[in-house]
Symmetry: C2
Subunit: 207 residues, 2 copies
Protein backbone atom coordinates (compact mmCIF):
# COMPACT_ATOMS: atom_id res chain seq x y z
CA UNK A 1 0.00 0.00 0.00
CA UNK A 2 1.12 3.54 -0.73
CA UNK A 3 1.49 6.14 1.98
CA UNK A 4 -0.18 8.90 0.00
CA UNK A 5 2.86 10.91 -0.98
CA UNK A 6 0.78 13.94 -1.89
CA UNK A 7 0.52 14.83 1.78
CA UNK A 8 4.27 14.87 2.39
CA UNK A 9 4.49 18.52 1.48
CA UNK A 10 7.87 20.24 1.57
CA UNK A 11 8.04 23.88 2.70
CA UNK A 12 8.34 25.14 -0.87
CA UNK A 13 5.16 23.39 -2.00
CA UNK A 14 1.91 25.24 -2.55
CA UNK A 15 -0.37 26.30 0.24
CA UNK A 16 -2.97 23.62 -0.33
CA UNK A 17 -0.50 20.76 0.11
CA UNK A 18 1.14 22.38 3.10
CA UNK A 19 -2.25 22.87 4.72
CA UNK A 20 -3.13 19.20 4.17
CA UNK A 21 0.15 18.05 5.74
CA UNK A 22 -0.30 20.39 8.71
CA UNK A 23 -3.94 19.37 9.15
CA UNK A 24 -3.03 15.67 9.25
CA UNK A 25 -0.64 16.43 12.08
CA UNK A 26 -3.02 18.63 14.06
CA UNK A 27 -6.19 16.55 13.60
CA UNK A 28 -4.27 13.45 14.70
CA UNK A 29 -3.07 15.03 17.92
CA UNK A 30 -5.99 17.26 18.93
CA UNK A 31 -9.04 15.65 17.32
CA UNK A 32 -11.55 17.42 15.12
CA UNK A 33 -13.06 19.69 17.76
CA UNK A 34 -9.72 20.33 19.41
CA UNK A 35 -8.02 21.39 16.18
CA UNK A 36 -8.25 25.03 15.12
CA UNK A 37 -7.84 26.45 11.63
CA UNK A 38 -5.37 29.00 12.99
CA UNK A 39 -3.24 26.26 14.55
CA UNK A 40 -3.19 24.38 11.24
CA UNK A 41 -2.51 27.52 9.20
CA UNK A 42 0.34 28.56 11.51
CA UNK A 43 1.98 25.17 11.08
CA UNK A 44 1.54 25.43 7.30
CA UNK A 45 2.91 28.97 7.25
CA UNK A 46 -0.21 30.59 5.76
CA UNK A 47 -3.07 32.78 6.93
CA UNK A 48 -5.98 30.82 8.37
CA UNK A 49 -8.39 32.28 5.84
CA UNK A 50 -6.51 30.43 3.11
CA UNK A 51 -7.68 27.19 4.67
CA UNK A 52 -11.26 28.29 4.22
CA UNK A 53 -10.53 29.35 0.64
CA UNK A 54 -9.20 25.89 -0.28
CA UNK A 55 -11.50 23.64 1.75
CA UNK A 56 -14.58 25.82 2.44
CA UNK A 57 -15.10 24.49 6.00
CA UNK A 58 -13.17 22.77 8.76
CA UNK A 59 -15.10 19.58 8.00
CA UNK A 60 -14.20 19.87 4.33
CA UNK A 61 -10.55 20.06 5.30
CA UNK A 62 -10.93 17.01 7.54
CA UNK A 63 -12.48 14.97 4.74
CA UNK A 64 -9.75 16.07 2.33
CA UNK A 65 -7.10 14.90 4.78
CA UNK A 66 -8.70 11.46 5.11
CA UNK A 67 -9.16 11.18 1.34
CA UNK A 68 -5.53 12.10 0.66
CA UNK A 69 -4.39 9.24 2.92
CA UNK A 70 -6.86 6.48 2.10
CA UNK A 71 -8.16 6.91 -1.43
CA UNK A 72 -5.24 5.13 -3.09
CA UNK A 73 -5.30 2.27 -0.62
CA UNK A 74 -9.02 1.59 -0.97
CA UNK A 75 -8.81 1.81 -4.77
CA UNK A 76 -6.07 -0.82 -4.67
CA UNK A 77 -8.09 -3.39 -2.71
CA UNK A 78 -9.57 -5.21 -5.76
CA UNK A 79 -6.07 -5.70 -7.21
CA UNK A 80 -4.90 -7.05 -3.85
CA UNK A 81 -7.82 -9.45 -3.76
CA UNK A 82 -6.90 -10.85 -7.19
CA UNK A 83 -3.23 -11.19 -6.30
CA UNK A 84 -3.99 -12.96 -3.01
CA UNK A 85 -6.17 -15.55 -4.71
CA UNK A 86 -2.97 -17.04 -6.16
CA UNK A 87 -1.52 -17.93 -2.73
CA UNK A 88 -2.69 -20.06 0.20
CA UNK A 89 -5.16 -18.57 2.71
CA UNK A 90 -2.46 -18.64 5.38
CA UNK A 91 0.01 -16.86 3.12
CA UNK A 92 -2.64 -14.32 2.12
CA UNK A 93 -3.34 -13.64 5.79
CA UNK A 94 0.34 -13.21 6.55
CA UNK A 95 0.79 -10.79 3.66
CA UNK A 96 -2.21 -8.65 4.54
CA UNK A 97 -1.32 -8.51 8.24
CA UNK A 98 2.20 -7.38 7.39
CA UNK A 99 0.98 -4.76 4.91
CA UNK A 100 -1.42 -3.43 7.52
CA UNK A 101 1.35 -3.19 10.10
CA UNK A 102 3.61 -1.40 7.60
CA UNK A 103 0.83 1.03 6.63
CA UNK A 104 0.12 1.76 10.30
CA UNK A 105 3.80 2.41 11.01
CA UNK A 106 4.04 4.76 8.03
CA UNK A 107 0.80 6.59 8.72
CA UNK A 108 0.05 6.30 12.43
CA UNK A 109 -1.81 9.58 12.05
CA UNK A 110 -4.73 7.90 10.34
CA UNK A 111 -5.29 5.48 13.20
CA UNK A 112 -4.89 8.31 15.67
CA UNK A 113 -7.68 10.11 13.85
CA UNK A 114 -9.74 6.93 13.77
CA UNK A 115 -9.35 6.55 17.53
CA UNK A 116 -10.66 10.10 17.95
CA UNK A 117 -13.69 9.52 15.80
CA UNK A 118 -14.63 5.86 16.19
CA UNK A 119 -16.67 6.56 19.30
CA UNK A 120 -19.06 9.16 17.93
CA UNK A 121 -21.90 9.13 15.44
CA UNK A 122 -22.32 12.07 13.10
CA UNK A 123 -22.18 12.85 9.38
CA UNK A 124 -18.41 12.94 9.34
CA UNK A 125 -18.10 9.51 11.00
CA UNK A 126 -20.81 7.90 8.87
CA UNK A 127 -18.96 9.09 5.77
CA UNK A 128 -15.67 7.69 7.08
CA UNK A 129 -17.16 4.32 8.02
CA UNK A 130 -19.05 3.92 4.78
CA UNK A 131 -16.33 5.16 2.42
CA UNK A 132 -13.19 3.67 3.92
CA UNK A 133 -13.73 1.57 7.06
CA UNK A 134 -16.41 -0.70 5.63
CA UNK A 135 -14.56 -1.74 2.43
CA UNK A 136 -11.42 -2.63 4.38
CA UNK A 137 -13.47 -4.46 7.02
CA UNK A 138 -15.10 -6.58 4.29
CA UNK A 139 -11.74 -7.24 2.67
CA UNK A 140 -10.11 -8.25 5.93
CA UNK A 141 -12.92 -10.43 7.29
CA UNK A 142 -13.34 -12.29 3.99
CA UNK A 143 -9.65 -13.25 4.15
CA UNK A 144 -10.00 -14.34 7.78
CA UNK A 145 -13.08 -16.38 6.88
CA UNK A 146 -11.29 -18.08 3.98
CA UNK A 147 -8.34 -18.92 6.21
CA UNK A 148 -10.69 -20.34 8.86
CA UNK A 149 -12.38 -22.54 6.25
CA UNK A 150 -8.94 -23.83 5.25
CA UNK A 151 -8.15 -24.56 8.90
CA UNK A 152 -5.36 -21.97 8.82
CA UNK A 153 -6.86 -19.33 11.12
CA UNK A 154 -8.09 -19.28 14.71
CA UNK A 155 -11.85 -19.91 14.96
CA UNK A 156 -14.25 -17.22 16.17
CA UNK A 157 -16.27 -14.39 14.70
CA UNK A 158 -14.17 -12.84 11.89
CA UNK A 159 -15.30 -9.33 12.83
CA UNK A 160 -14.21 -9.81 16.44
CA UNK A 161 -10.84 -11.15 15.26
CA UNK A 162 -10.47 -8.25 12.82
CA UNK A 163 -10.87 -5.68 15.59
CA UNK A 164 -8.61 -7.67 17.92
CA UNK A 165 -5.96 -7.42 15.20
CA UNK A 166 -6.58 -3.70 14.71
CA UNK A 167 -6.05 -3.13 18.42
CA UNK A 168 -3.04 -5.42 18.65
CA UNK A 169 -1.33 -3.81 15.66
CA UNK A 170 -2.03 -0.13 16.15
CA UNK A 171 -1.41 0.37 19.88
CA UNK A 172 2.38 0.71 19.79
CA UNK A 173 2.22 3.21 16.91
CA UNK A 174 -0.77 5.23 18.05
CA UNK A 175 0.58 5.54 21.61
CA UNK A 176 4.19 5.74 20.46
CA UNK A 177 5.17 8.22 23.17
CA UNK A 178 3.62 6.24 26.01
CA UNK A 179 4.88 2.95 24.54
CA UNK A 180 8.42 4.30 24.36
CA UNK A 181 8.27 5.71 27.89
CA UNK A 182 6.93 2.49 29.45
CA UNK A 183 8.57 -0.32 27.49
CA UNK A 184 11.82 1.32 26.39
CA UNK A 185 11.14 -0.09 22.91
CA UNK A 186 11.19 2.05 19.75
CA UNK A 187 7.92 1.27 17.94
CA UNK A 188 9.10 2.62 14.57
CA UNK A 189 12.30 0.60 14.51
CA UNK A 190 12.08 -1.76 11.47
CA UNK A 191 12.88 -4.81 13.58
CA UNK A 192 10.21 -3.88 16.13
CA UNK A 193 7.70 -3.38 13.29
CA UNK A 194 8.42 -6.90 12.05
CA UNK A 195 7.99 -8.26 15.58
CA UNK A 196 4.53 -6.73 15.79
CA UNK A 197 3.66 -8.25 12.41
CA UNK A 198 4.94 -11.68 13.52
CA UNK A 199 3.09 -11.46 16.85
CA UNK A 200 -0.14 -10.54 15.09
CA UNK A 201 0.12 -13.35 12.54
CA UNK A 202 0.92 -15.78 15.34
CA UNK A 203 -2.22 -14.64 17.18
CA UNK A 204 -4.38 -15.12 14.11
CA UNK A 205 -2.95 -18.27 12.55
CA UNK A 206 -3.21 -21.93 13.50
CA UNK A 207 0.25 -23.51 13.21
Amino acid sequence: MNTGAAIEAAPQEDGRSRILAAALEVFSTSGFEGASLRQIADRAGVMHQLVVYHFKTKEGLWRAVITSILDDNIARLPAWRTRLEAVSPAQALRTVVREFVLFTSRRPEFHRIATFEGRADNDRIRWLLQTYTRPYFEFSTSLIRAAQTAGAARPGDPGRLHYAVIGLVTTSFVFAHEYRAMTGLEPFDPAEIERIAALTFDFLAIP
Copy 2:
Protein backbone atom coordinates in the same frame (compact mmCIF):
# COMPACT_ATOMS: atom_id res chain seq x y z
CA MET B 1 -11.60 -3.51 40.69
CA ASN B 2 -14.11 -0.85 41.60
CA THR B 3 -15.60 1.45 39.00
CA GLY B 4 -15.29 4.60 41.11
CA ALA B 5 -18.87 4.97 42.23
CA ALA B 6 -18.39 8.61 43.20
CA ILE B 7 -18.70 9.60 39.57
CA GLU B 8 -22.09 7.95 39.05
CA ALA B 9 -23.91 11.10 40.09
CA ALA B 10 -27.68 11.09 40.12
CA PRO B 11 -29.48 14.30 39.03
CA GLN B 12 -30.25 15.24 42.62
CA GLU B 13 -26.61 15.02 43.70
CA ASP B 14 -24.50 18.06 44.31
CA GLY B 15 -22.95 20.14 41.57
CA ARG B 16 -19.43 18.88 42.02
CA SER B 17 -20.37 15.24 41.49
CA ARG B 18 -22.63 16.04 38.56
CA ILE B 19 -19.83 18.05 36.95
CA LEU B 20 -17.39 15.16 37.38
CA ALA B 21 -19.81 12.71 35.77
CA ALA B 22 -20.50 15.08 32.87
CA ALA B 23 -16.81 15.83 32.40
CA LEU B 24 -15.96 12.13 32.17
CA GLU B 25 -18.48 11.82 29.35
CA VAL B 26 -17.37 14.92 27.45
CA PHE B 27 -13.60 14.48 27.86
CA SER B 28 -13.92 10.89 26.63
CA THR B 29 -15.75 11.86 23.46
CA SER B 30 -14.15 15.22 22.56
CA GLY B 31 -10.70 15.07 24.15
CA PHE B 32 -9.22 17.72 26.42
CA GLU B 33 -8.91 20.53 23.87
CA GLY B 34 -12.22 19.64 22.19
CA ALA B 35 -14.17 19.69 25.44
CA SER B 36 -15.61 22.99 26.65
CA LEU B 37 -16.59 23.95 30.17
CA ARG B 38 -19.96 25.11 28.90
CA GLN B 39 -20.65 21.75 27.27
CA ILE B 40 -19.78 19.99 30.52
CA ALA B 41 -21.76 22.45 32.65
CA ASP B 42 -24.81 22.15 30.39
CA ARG B 43 -24.75 18.37 30.72
CA ALA B 44 -24.42 18.70 34.49
CA GLY B 45 -27.24 21.24 34.65
CA VAL B 46 -25.16 24.02 36.20
CA MET B 47 -23.60 27.31 35.12
CA HIS B 48 -20.17 26.93 33.60
CA GLN B 49 -18.63 29.26 36.16
CA LEU B 50 -19.41 26.68 38.84
CA VAL B 51 -16.92 24.35 37.17
CA VAL B 52 -14.21 26.95 37.66
CA TYR B 53 -15.28 27.44 41.27
CA HIS B 54 -14.90 23.72 42.06
CA PHE B 55 -11.88 22.83 39.96
CA LYS B 56 -10.11 26.15 39.34
CA THR B 57 -9.08 25.32 35.74
CA LYS B 58 -10.07 23.01 32.91
CA GLU B 59 -6.92 20.99 33.56
CA GLY B 60 -7.81 20.74 37.26
CA LEU B 61 -11.17 19.30 36.28
CA TRP B 62 -9.49 16.82 33.93
CA ARG B 63 -7.16 15.59 36.66
CA ALA B 64 -10.04 15.30 39.12
CA VAL B 65 -11.91 13.13 36.63
CA ILE B 66 -8.96 10.78 36.18
CA THR B 67 -8.38 10.60 39.92
CA SER B 68 -12.03 9.80 40.61
CA ILE B 69 -11.80 6.81 38.26
CA LEU B 70 -8.36 5.41 38.97
CA ASP B 71 -7.34 6.24 42.53
CA ASP B 72 -9.16 3.32 44.12
CA ASN B 73 -7.87 0.87 41.53
CA ILE B 74 -4.24 1.86 41.88
CA ALA B 75 -4.48 1.84 45.67
CA ARG B 76 -5.79 -1.72 45.47
CA LEU B 77 -2.86 -3.07 43.42
CA PRO B 78 -0.69 -4.16 46.42
CA ALA B 79 -3.60 -6.19 47.82
CA TRP B 80 -4.08 -7.80 44.40
CA ARG B 81 -0.43 -8.65 44.26
CA THR B 82 -0.60 -10.43 47.61
CA ARG B 83 -3.74 -12.32 46.71
CA LEU B 84 -2.33 -13.47 43.35
CA GLU B 85 0.80 -14.88 44.96
CA ALA B 86 -1.39 -17.68 46.31
CA VAL B 87 -2.35 -19.00 42.87
CA SER B 88 -0.39 -20.29 39.88
CA PRO B 89 1.14 -17.76 37.43
CA ALA B 90 -1.29 -18.94 34.73
CA GLN B 91 -4.26 -18.51 37.05
CA ALA B 92 -2.99 -15.09 38.15
CA LEU B 93 -2.72 -14.04 34.50
CA ARG B 94 -6.21 -15.28 33.73
CA THR B 95 -7.64 -13.42 36.71
CA VAL B 96 -5.91 -10.13 35.92
CA VAL B 97 -6.81 -10.27 32.23
CA ARG B 98 -10.45 -10.84 33.09
CA GLU B 99 -10.48 -8.05 35.69
CA PHE B 100 -8.95 -5.70 33.14
CA VAL B 101 -11.57 -6.62 30.54
CA LEU B 102 -14.36 -6.11 33.09
CA PHE B 103 -12.93 -2.75 34.17
CA THR B 104 -12.66 -1.63 30.54
CA SER B 105 -16.25 -2.66 29.83
CA ARG B 106 -17.49 -0.78 32.90
CA ARG B 107 -15.38 2.34 32.32
CA PRO B 108 -14.61 2.53 28.58
CA GLU B 109 -14.40 6.28 29.09
CA PHE B 110 -11.00 6.02 30.75
CA HIS B 111 -9.47 4.21 27.80
CA ARG B 112 -11.13 6.66 25.44
CA ILE B 113 -9.42 9.45 27.33
CA ALA B 114 -6.14 7.52 27.26
CA THR B 115 -6.40 7.18 23.48
CA PHE B 116 -6.79 10.95 23.25
CA GLU B 117 -3.81 11.69 25.42
CA GLY B 118 -1.36 8.82 24.90
CA ARG B 119 0.18 10.47 21.86
CA ALA B 120 1.16 13.80 23.33
CA ASP B 121 3.74 14.93 25.82
CA ASN B 122 2.84 17.67 28.28
CA ASP B 123 2.42 18.19 32.02
CA ARG B 124 -0.98 16.59 32.05
CA ILE B 125 0.23 13.44 30.27
CA ARG B 126 3.39 13.12 32.32
CA TRP B 127 1.26 13.27 35.46
CA LEU B 128 -1.09 10.57 34.10
CA LEU B 129 1.74 8.26 33.04
CA GLN B 130 3.65 8.63 36.28
CA THR B 131 0.69 8.46 38.66
CA TYR B 132 -1.47 5.76 37.09
CA THR B 133 -0.11 4.24 33.89
CA ARG B 134 3.33 3.32 35.26
CA PRO B 135 2.16 1.45 38.38
CA TYR B 136 -0.29 -0.64 36.40
CA PHE B 137 2.32 -1.29 33.70
CA GLU B 138 4.76 -2.57 36.35
CA PHE B 139 2.04 -4.70 37.93
CA SER B 140 1.00 -6.22 34.62
CA THR B 141 4.47 -6.87 33.19
CA SER B 142 5.70 -8.48 36.43
CA LEU B 143 2.81 -10.96 36.21
CA ILE B 144 3.57 -11.66 32.55
CA ARG B 145 7.23 -12.15 33.40
CA ALA B 146 6.41 -14.57 36.22
CA ALA B 147 4.12 -16.55 33.93
CA GLN B 148 6.83 -16.69 31.27
CA THR B 149 9.34 -18.01 33.81
CA ALA B 150 6.85 -20.71 34.74
CA GLY B 151 6.43 -21.57 31.05
CA ALA B 152 2.79 -20.49 31.20
CA ALA B 153 2.92 -17.39 29.02
CA ARG B 154 3.96 -16.67 25.45
CA PRO B 155 7.61 -15.56 25.19
CA GLY B 156 8.56 -12.06 24.10
CA ASP B 157 9.14 -8.66 25.67
CA PRO B 158 6.60 -8.31 28.53
CA GLY B 159 6.05 -4.63 27.70
CA ARG B 160 5.24 -5.42 24.09
CA LEU B 161 2.84 -8.15 25.20
CA HIS B 162 1.25 -5.81 27.75
CA TYR B 163 0.45 -3.22 25.07
CA ALA B 164 -0.71 -5.92 22.65
CA VAL B 165 -3.18 -6.97 25.35
CA ILE B 166 -4.26 -3.39 25.99
CA GLY B 167 -5.04 -2.98 22.29
CA LEU B 168 -6.71 -6.34 21.97
CA VAL B 169 -8.93 -5.78 25.00
CA THR B 170 -9.94 -2.16 24.64
CA THR B 171 -10.75 -1.85 20.93
CA SER B 172 -14.30 -3.23 21.00
CA PHE B 173 -15.25 -1.03 23.98
CA VAL B 174 -13.48 2.14 22.95
CA PHE B 175 -14.84 1.97 19.39
CA ALA B 176 -18.16 0.51 20.49
CA HIS B 177 -20.16 2.40 17.87
CA GLU B 178 -17.91 1.41 14.97
CA TYR B 179 -17.58 -2.14 16.31
CA ARG B 180 -21.34 -2.51 16.50
CA ALA B 181 -21.86 -1.05 13.02
CA MET B 182 -19.24 -3.26 11.37
CA THR B 183 -19.46 -6.59 13.19
CA GLY B 184 -23.09 -6.61 14.31
CA LEU B 185 -21.84 -7.69 17.75
CA GLU B 186 -22.79 -5.94 21.00
CA PRO B 187 -19.51 -5.23 22.81
CA PHE B 188 -21.12 -4.70 26.23
CA ASP B 189 -23.11 -7.93 26.17
CA PRO B 190 -21.84 -10.04 29.12
CA ALA B 191 -21.23 -13.05 26.88
CA GLU B 192 -19.25 -10.94 24.42
CA ILE B 193 -17.21 -9.48 27.29
CA GLU B 194 -16.29 -13.00 28.39
CA ARG B 195 -15.32 -13.90 24.81
CA ILE B 196 -12.90 -10.98 24.70
CA ALA B 197 -11.42 -12.10 28.02
CA ALA B 198 -11.05 -15.69 26.77
CA LEU B 199 -9.53 -14.55 23.47
CA THR B 200 -7.01 -12.36 25.30
CA PHE B 201 -5.99 -15.07 27.74
CA ASP B 202 -5.68 -17.50 24.84
CA PHE B 203 -3.37 -15.03 23.09
CA LEU B 204 -1.18 -14.61 26.15
CA ALA B 205 -1.07 -18.12 27.58
CA ILE B 206 0.79 -21.26 26.52
CA PRO B 207 -1.63 -24.19 26.73
